[in-house]
Symmetry: C2
Subunit: 353 residues, 2 copies
Amino acid sequence: MFALILAGGTGTRLWPQSRTAMPKQLLNLGSGKTMMQATVERILPIMPVENIFVATNHNYGSIIKEQIPHMLPQNIVAEPSGKNTAPCIGLAALHMNRLDPDAVMASLHSDHFIADEEGFRQALLTAEKAARDGYLVTLGVQPDKPETGYGYIKRAGTIGDYNGQTVYQVDQFLEKPDLATAQRFLDSDEYYWNSGIFIWQLSTLLNEFAICMPEFYEQLGQLGQALERGEAIEPIWEAIRPESIDVGIMERAKKVAVVPLDVGWNDVGSWAAIYDINKANEDNNVVLGGEHISVNTTGTLIQGKKRLIATVGLEDVIIVDTEDALLVCAKDKVQDVKQVVNWLKDNGREDLL
Amino acid sequence: MFALILAGGTGTRLWPQSRTAMPKQLLNLGSGKTMMQATVERILPIMPVENIFVATNHNYGSIIKEQIPHMLPQNIVAEPSGKNTAPCIGLAALHMNRLDPDAVMASLHSDHFIADEEGFRQALLTAEKAARDGYLVTLGVQPDKPETGYGYIKRAGTIGDYNGQTVYQVDQFLEKPDLATAQRFLDSDEYYWNSGIFIWQLSTLLNEFAICMPEFYEQLGQLGQALERGEAIEPIWEAIRPESIDVGIMERAKKVAVVPLDVGWNDVGSWAAIYDINKANEDNNVVLGGEHISVNTTGTLIQGKKRLIATVGLEDVIIVDTEDALLVCAKDKVQDVKQVVNWLKDNGREDLL
């Protein structure tokens, strides 16, 4: 099995810690290692480092080399520009296909948190087995709340037991629901959160590109020739239309399966998630760096730096202190951090993005 | 009339902006001038600058000279060490007495906010007239809420009209009350907040020192002789027992009067007061310095510096951002800022005090 780790995102929901120049996946957000490092270490027990690829943009390549020094330099696949996930997965598939056309690829994200890492590896191995039967496999996260921020997967009947785990046919992929619908999904046992983690045989994937995205499949052929000849891929890449693998392939393909995942998965999509995945102290506060004096403060996240941070009488607040910007945010309003980021974009404040 | 401005306090309730090295009265807290400058400018219409004295400690003398460049250098009275208000007022009285023994002294604080400055000057002129009749006069602030953080003054009958304003005999000074008592005081019209602003003839004051504080009066005589001879006052000063003018004189003296004061007085005793005395913007936030991005934030004070401060979903919060310390505090818990200061003292963190 090969792994592709997608690491090109800018992670604006964790502003001001996450910046364009140093996004979420390259930060240590409490665990002692960066999310990128954690992602690699999580899968190393089931595959050698030579099988691990990273897709990212030119800016992050050198930081990733620093953070994962034993990764093969040629396994860092630089996207000339952001084209969403389908082109990027296709490009990585070309590289892997040259090494072993019979291999299975697991497409992972660099910025997910997993509490039960062994459970996650078992799910990957289960998915690998289903993929060998020709399925496009996704990991579906067992919901534990009526989350409206994720897409959902509805399962159909079983396709069998693999690696001791039941795997289901996918009935359909569903958009982010409203709260009532999300509650109905939660009450049923047939729905999962779409983790965005996919496992497939290279041959199955390339075949699906040919069927579902014929224009891109053609361009992928050109990319492969350019790579063979050692030519620049940029002119071909720039003509590619951006597309997500979800819309481009997964929602259109026929033979799609889901492996249920119940391992404490968190996509770390907000500062509230950072609070959730870290261990709180006796006052129920999470202090990540910096010196904190707490007076009657609870449920609060302190992402400090050099300065002393004193909090008095606070409940459920997010405080993120960086060199040039400070965020103070109600914990139940963390989704609105994007409004700050949008304001900065609209007002040409690239210095703070 | 002479004025003495007491400017020796350290103002820890406005930490982390107010520091030992640069306390509250020497800061610009929103008005564009420092509280010290505002205090001087407030009384300049009714007395020449030569009549204005400042009592402070050695550390603040040079900052005060910078902030009030036209003040006479000899009018900055340096207390060798903090001995509370009575010794400091006595020392200043000696200086004034050499210039004009028939004068009236107004003892003011350097860190009070007054909305109606003309009303304040009129109250001082009223008090001056009552003082010429031999009264120790205090300005009593008309309460507008059941405040438990101030001492109160209970008035007795009138002593007459001065300058067109009724002046009352003081019945008694009262300690900080509990809430029920404060409410009773508010419902009555016989109680005022003790502003700590006093007006008296020098001769009356010195006579009261002789009666109420005979030991200090003796030491005051020694101080006077040392000043005459150009000798150091430190050895005499160090032997003086600390005492407030309230306890030492005002609560013991017989002939005490109160001039009611209704001029938007605020002793700026907390960050909530800073919010109150400044003009809020259209979101009901007060932004003092720094750049602020507000997303659904209201009732909040931002005391910024260089960094951008983004707030999301906050209500009634105090944020004070300084070079080496950050305070985030619920606006109704500002009194607990002293717990932070106490922690810093107890833990030897003079670098942050």
